[in-house]
Every structure is written in C-alpha cells, then in structure tokens.
C-alpha cells in the first residue's frame, strides 16, 4: 500500500512539473511539449513528465547552439527596449506595445531599469532601442556613437512636492530660488526643512543636479553630505516619495509617479512651473558594429512610430481616464523651449542605419574597449 502511495505522490510531482513546463510553454520559451491531455492516466503523465523534464534541462544546453534562445518558429523579430522605471511605471508603453506589434511582425521585450543601467545595457549591445529622459546623458551616448536617430517624442514637467504647510515657504518661487531657499534654511537647521534626493543617478536625479547647478551650487562639494537636511535615498521614485512623506520633506518628482502614489501621500505639489523642471522624453536606435541591419531598421520603425502623428495623438490622450489629466504633452502639440540639443529632432523620419563616419570609428573603438 505504502509503495502505491509513494508512487502516486511521485506521479503527482511529475504532473505538477509537467503542468509547470506546459505553462512555461505558453510564454513561448519552453521546448515543444508532447500534446498530452492533462487528464491522461497518472502513469502516462508520469512518463511524459519525465520526458518533458529531460527536454527542459536539455533546453538549457540547446540554447548553446541556437542563439535565438528558444524563440518561436514563427520568427517574429524581437526587439529589446531599455527604458527607465519612471516612464515604464506610467504604463504608456503597455498601451503602445500592441499597436506597434500589430503593425509590424515583431515582439517587443521591454525592460525597465534605472537610467544608468538602461544606458549601460544599450552600450553593451543588449538592447536595440533606448527610451529615456536625460538629455545630457543621451547627447553623450549619441556623441560616442552608441546610438543614432535620436528623436524627442513627448515632454512633461517635474514637480517639487512637499508638506502642505510649506515650512520652507517656497511656494510660487522659481525652482532655482526654491532650491536656494531650501539650502539656506536646511543649513540653518530651520525646523522641518529637509529635502530627499533620489541620489541614484536616474533621469530625475540628473534633473535635480541640473537645478542645483543653475542655482550656482556645486552639487558634489556644497550639496551632497552638507547636513541632515539633504537626504540621499538611493531608491526609486515611489520609494523616495514615501520617504519624503514619512519625513515631511520636499522632493523632486516626475508627475506620473506622484499621481500614482498620491492617494498614499500627504505631500502636495509646491512648485510645478519653471524652465528647469522641463522633462523631455526621447527615443533612439542603438548602434554598434555587431548590430544586424534588420534590427536597426526595425528599431528605426519604432522611432518613426513614436513620432507618427497618430501615435502622438494617442500619447496626448494617455492618462486622462486614470488621472483626469494627460501625463505627456506630445511634441506634435507643444515643442518646449529648451537649451539647444535638449529637445531632439521630432519631425524628420529616422532613416540612418549608421552614425556619421567620424563617430562610427569612436563606437568601434569603444566596443573594442568593452571586449
């Protein structure tokens, strides 16, 4: 009897594994599974379970020969998009993804990481498209020959949020004047004046550093570690907002994340206007000498898709149903006034398949250095 129980349990385990592998098969990743009905007799399922498990472990080895990594036979091209968490978290890309995928025979794989990591992924050739909001880093990326066809597709505004009673009294100031006031009152240890910074090298963090430099402070020597008033969170936007909320402090945030968190926060927008609060979103095709031309042209298709008038109209409507207001202002509606280069081209189609020859050599040298 006991032996039967044991056998039954082992079969159950295999059936469980089998179902797991089948599920994984639905994601298009697992090896082809025999078409066994799940209701088959336990013994049969058991045997097939074993076969499937063998296949599964073989698959790890099989990928060694097939660089496609178990892509479905239908050979829809795959494009990896590296983007930042704050943009991804708005779910804008979730809306755009099916539109693009149905237009072209392509599967988009979107990975959202910090801005620094996203750019690193693109530099190492692990992403085909880069979608970020950090103009200075983007311009350096293009200049070094890692990317082509940079196009800006939308903008919105960062906001400075803080406690409703505004202990630093900065409401209505320009961002630079507000930062100066925060610095002076923070250094004076004025009660309840504190600022929480992302402190993680993200696009939002670079925007913050930009405001400090416009307010004539040296970020590394004068602001960082200058006192208890300046807190470097080293976390994502949502966690930074929560931290600022707990501490009753001010922080700089993108509007999308603030709106998503709003219901859990006592923080209110204190300053939402000013040239240095401008947040510009751009897209670019990743270039390196190993990148196949098909990927480059498909990535260019995506760039063109984002600046296409129809898509621009969709972007302009995004967020209205959920937040009661649009999260992005498409370039087709307003082209923000910004220092040269910050707003990229937003009208001419992306056609380049390689960088201008001067930078191409720089990229080749850089990829050689990476190796």
């Amino acid at each position: 009897m006991k032996r039967d129980v044991y056998g039954g349990l082992v079969s159950t385990m295999f059936v469980l594994l089998f179902i797991t592998v089948c599920f994984a098969g639905c994601t298009g990743q697992a090896p082809a599974t025999p078409g066994a009905a799940p209701t088959a007799a336990p013994f049969v399922a058991n045997q097939q379970g074993v076969a499937v498990i063998k296949n599964a472990s073989a698959a790890t080895a099989a990928t060694a020969v097939a660089p496609a990594g178990g892509a479905p036979a239908a050979a829809a091209q795959e494009l990896v998009i590296a983007t930042t968490t704050s943009l991804y978290d708005t779910k804008l890309l979730d809306m755009l993804q099916p539109m693009f995928e149905s237009k072209y025979n392509v599967r988009l794989k979107i990975t959202s990481q910090g801005t620094g990591k996203a750019i690193e992924l693109a530099k190492k050739g692990d992403a085909d498209i880069l979608l970020v909001h950090s103009p200075s880093q983007e311009l350096a990326f293009i200049k070094d020959g890692f990317g082509i066809n940079r196009r800006s597709f939308a903008s919105n505004s960062f906001i400075i949020v803080g406690p409703a009673d505004d202990p630093a009294g900065i409401r209505g100031m320009t961002p630079e004047a507000a930062f100066t006031a925060l610095y002076l009152k923070g250094m004076n240890k004025t009660a309840k004046v504190a600022f929480v910074s992302r402190g993680d090298g993200s696009g939002t963090h670079s925007a913050e550093k930009n405001i400090w430099s416009k307010a004539k402070y040296n970020y590394t020597t004068q602001i960082q570690k200058s006192g208890d008033w300046y807190v470097e969170a080293g976390k994502g936007m949502g966690e930074t907002l929560q931290m600022a909320d707990e501490k009753g402090a001010y922080t700089l945030t993108d509007e999308g994340t603030y709106l998503a968190y709003k219901k859990d926060l006592a923080l209110v927008p204190v300053i939402s206007q000013g040239a240095s609060l401008l947040n510009i979103y751009s897209v670019m095709t990743v270039y390196n000498d190993k990148q196949p031309i098909e990927k480059i042209t498909m990535a260019n298709n995506f760039v063109n898709f984002l600046i296409d008038p129809a898509t621009q109209a969709e972007i302009g409507k995004f967020g209205v149903d959920k937040y009661g207001k649009a999260l992005f202002i498409p370039m087709s509606v307003t082209v923000p006034d910004a220092p040269a280069g910050n707003v990229g081209d937003h009208t001419s189609p992306a056609t380049d398949v390689k960088p201008p020859s001067a930078t191409a050599t720089a990229a080749a040298a850089a990829t050689a250095a990476v190796k």
Partner: protein
Amino acid sequence: MDEITQGIAQAFDLIVTLNPDMLEIAALSLYISLSATIIAAIIAIPAGGLIHFHEFRGKQALIVIIQTLYSVPTVVVGLFLYLLISKSGPLGVLGLLFTPQGMILGQTVLIVPIMLGLVISALSGIDKSISDTLVSLGATSFQKILEILKEARYAILSAVVLGFGRAIAEVGVAMMIGGNIRGHTRVLTTAITLETGMGDFGLSIALGIILLSVALVVVIVLNIITSGFPPESRQIPGGPSG
C-alpha cells in the same frame, strides 16, 4: 494597514478567479525556481558526497569558501552573470540574456553553494558508527554512500528546500538576467517590485501571498516524497538483492 487587508482579499480573488496573468507569472516563477533547484540538487548532492567522503588537501578551505558563498548578494550574482552573457561578454553568443533559461542558470549558480554546504553538514551529521557498521556488513563504498545519503535525507531535504526558498524569493538575478519583461521573464518577485514601484501595494501583498502559497505546495510535496520512502523498500546493504 488598509493595504494589508486589501492585499489578502486581492490574493484570494486572484487565486479563486484563476487570473491568467497571475497564473502565468506564478507558473513561470515555479518553473524557473524549481528547475534551478533540481539542477542545483543534481550538482550539489553528489558533489557534497564527493567532498564529504574524500580526504584531500584544502578540504577545510574549500568548505570555508563554500560557506562564504552563502552570503553572496543576489545582485552580485546577477551582475557577474550579466557581464558574462551580455552580447559583448564572453558567453554572449548563447543569447541567454532576458530569457527564462538565463534566469535558471543564474538561480542555479546562486543556490549551489548553499545546497552544497548544507549537504556536507547533513552528511557530517550522520554517526560515524553507521558508516563503520555498513563497512563491516560488507557494503561496497557505493552502497555505503547511498545508505548514508538515505539516512541524511531529512537534512538534505532542508538543504533543497532552503535552496528553493532562496531561488523563488530572490529579485537580483531575476531582475538583472530576466529584465522583468512582461509575458516573458516576469516572475512573482520582479512583479512585486514593479507593483510596489507603481504604488499598488495591495497587489504587491497579494503577489507575496501567492508566492508563499506556491512555496507551501512545493515544500509539502518535497516533504511527502522524502518521508514517503517506504521503510521495507530499504535494502540492507550486502543482503539479498532484488
């Protein structure tokens, strides 16, 4: 506090309605972590046996190294493997980045040390007299090892369960190697990170509860299998075969 009750209700709702997105994510988590656990066990149990039953120079140093690797942060394993399997890395041609297979590899690397170390401890915990008795009864060294493995099976089970627990609960490798790509490499832990980042705490708690439910099922099954070895099927080494 609201989020916690809301999370529990939402978890219940997701499970009862068999939400397809949730099922896919949970199944992928289970597939990846169970595969990694099985592969790691296949490596760690024999390797642990080899290390335990052989005396060699540097054995103690090796064990110290293995135990040190218990502490390796998951992000470091993820980063290390990322640099290896990146397109510009030495193993870039395998195309493992952003695939479940790559995540299985990463979690296997992550949990092999902990399983290996605990298997060695488990075997050390078996009384030396058992091994002497087995030898005196004429057991071959293979039979001896097999029998001691059986004796140590509960402690070895703990090693496997702990390895599985570390695999299914980790975020670092799943994020770095998998990339949290929807419908492709999104697992429970990376989904929780994502939902927390988007401010949906209720759903995060719900996914946490689902992760624990998945773990509960796996642990129960593993326990039943281990205690299910019917005593009468155990052969006395050196006794009649068959």
